[in-house]
Symmetry: C2
Subunit: 313 residues, 2 copies
């Protein structure tokens, strides 16, 4: 039971000597980097180490061409070394992380990383095993509707990685069986499941920011939201208990894309007040592009921030 | 006390699940590879993993040019990661070892290594910290006289690494202060100190193999040699108790270069009989070049082999 052992070791380790660990899982182009960037900005890069745990590939791009699986398949990755590195970070120890260069598809010089007060590990497989999950204080999974994620992936891979739309579509198609088998099942191990999407029942004008639906599972203690929010689902923000797909009870926070800054601010303030932290919430949460703020993203980041700071106490 | 913790963890771990670990320390060109190769050959590559622990450099060759120290300096190496990897191997776990390419002076794709029944870790720093030392069942240090080592280094670096004699001499000179400060002090932590050298008092004809002087410290239980060997130091092989440089008592086995194969065979047989292993000693011990055998090397390898197999029991 190595997962129990790491849990025990973490409990025994002086909490000032080990970092608070957050996992952000989700498929390719599901918004992990956007979410992470805002958190690092809010905490400060001196206090927070963000790592992408997708560099534990067994094969380089050339070798992979001859193989019947995509990088989503666990057999394509040294999951055991990822587990090992997450355990080491969780116990406050440094790692020498492999580095995969996406531009050339080869491995380069490994990177020496020391944990800081907070460690955010984002990637495709951070919640894939009992042992990885045992390393985290808080776990999140990004679960946008597939059509939205495909749009995001096409936009990003064409703009930043030099692919054509057809190439990205073919890639998405070839990855679909492994997404279903290995990536999406991690959703059920997250304390918080985040779904950015337009609200199906509404015809919001184009340009309305996406809404967020945050499933807040009672696996960790969330901030009290019921003081501020009603369960009237006609309001721009509301909280509702429901059953998840597997029947387990959960809270569900909806933040509509058209929620006003003022409404959001009130909720932010209430969450922040539950923390014993001076000052107000970090001002730049929710920034999508410089100067462009999404209230649903800001609230999502704030709730994650709440958990990180709470765990530090 | 992380060194105590690793010792305890190793004791607790089912001994069939963790490898027997041998360290072979020593300066550059002191004969580590020759010694290791014979051991791997004797045990079989399927049972024995040999790793060189000199790839934990912090800097590549270009970066090092601007720095005031050579690769012998601990600050030039991620000693903490080497410690971590030795601990992992010692507990039977895999590592992703960094790989430094000596031909280009840069870092390349890391190597996934799983421990086998036996692990031999050879290099410049395997005995440099309490924590590394706690990972080993047996520790050896190669301690040839400096003039012999210099000859070996010039021969090897010119033949295999494309340097000129002057370059190697300059390199040796620049490394000398760090050899003295960081490499040679590891000698005192070895269970076995091996010194290949001509015998100063004799004028053996050229071509006589080097003699071996093996200091067998009572830090581990050595095979009983006193049945077979006398302490008459005029014989080709003899055993003698003496004080080491620091005054501690130790056994010292001398095997002269001119010892006959027959004399050596008798001692080999007696050592092997103390092990509960079927068959006789591996036939190719002591091979320097194909078909060329050194009895002193063969006996050195046999004694290390004895300890590896004994620890496995």
């Amino acid at each position: 039971m190595p997962d129990k052992i790491i849990r025990m070791q973490r409990s025994e380790t002086d909490s000032s000597a080990r970092p608070v660990m957050l996992a952000i899982g989700g498929d390719s182009a599901s918004g992990k980097t956007t979410l992470t960037t805002g958190l690092v900005d809010a905490l400060g890069a001196d206090r927070c180490l963000a790592i992408c745990v997708d560099d534990y590939h067994k094969f380089d791009r050339e070798e992979r061409k001859k193989l019947p699986f995509t990088p989503l398949h666990p057999d394509c990755n040294y999951i055991d070394i990822m587990e090992q590195h997450l355990q080491l970070l969780a116990l406050g120890r440094p790692i020498l992380k492999p580095v995969y260069d996406h531009s050339t598809g080869t491995f380069t010089r490994p990177q020496y990383l020391e944990p800081k007060e907070f460690v955010i590990a984002e990637g495709l497989h951070p919640l894939s095993t009992k042992l990885t999950r045992a390393c985290f204080d808080v776990t999140a999974f990004l679960d946008p509707p597939e059509e939205i994620r495909h749009e995001w992936k096409i936009k990003r891979d064409c703009a930043k990685r030099g692919y054509t739309v057809e190439q990205v579509r073919a890639d998405l198609e070839s990855r679909e069986p492994e997404s279903e088998q290995f990536i999406r099942p991690q959703r059920r191990f997250a304390d918080i499941v985040v779904r950015f999407a337009p609200i199906p029942s509404r015809a919001d004008p184009p340009g309305t920011p996406l809404s967020a639906e945050l499933m807040l599972r009672p696996t960790i203690r969330h901030p009290t939201l019921s003081n501020v929010l009603s369960d009237d689902n006609r309001t721009a923000m509301h909280l509702k208990i429901m059953r998840d797909r597997d029947g387990t009870p959960t809270d569900c926070l909806h933040v509509h894309g058209h929620a006003s800054a003022e409404e959001a601010r009130q909720l932010e303030k209430s969450i922040w007040q539950e923390l014993n932290v001076p000052g107000g919430p970090p001002p730049r949460l929710g920034e999508i592009d410089p100067g462009v703020r999404s209230e649903p993203l800001a609230l999502t980041q704030l709730i994650l921030l709440y958990h990180l700071l709470q765990a530090r106490e």
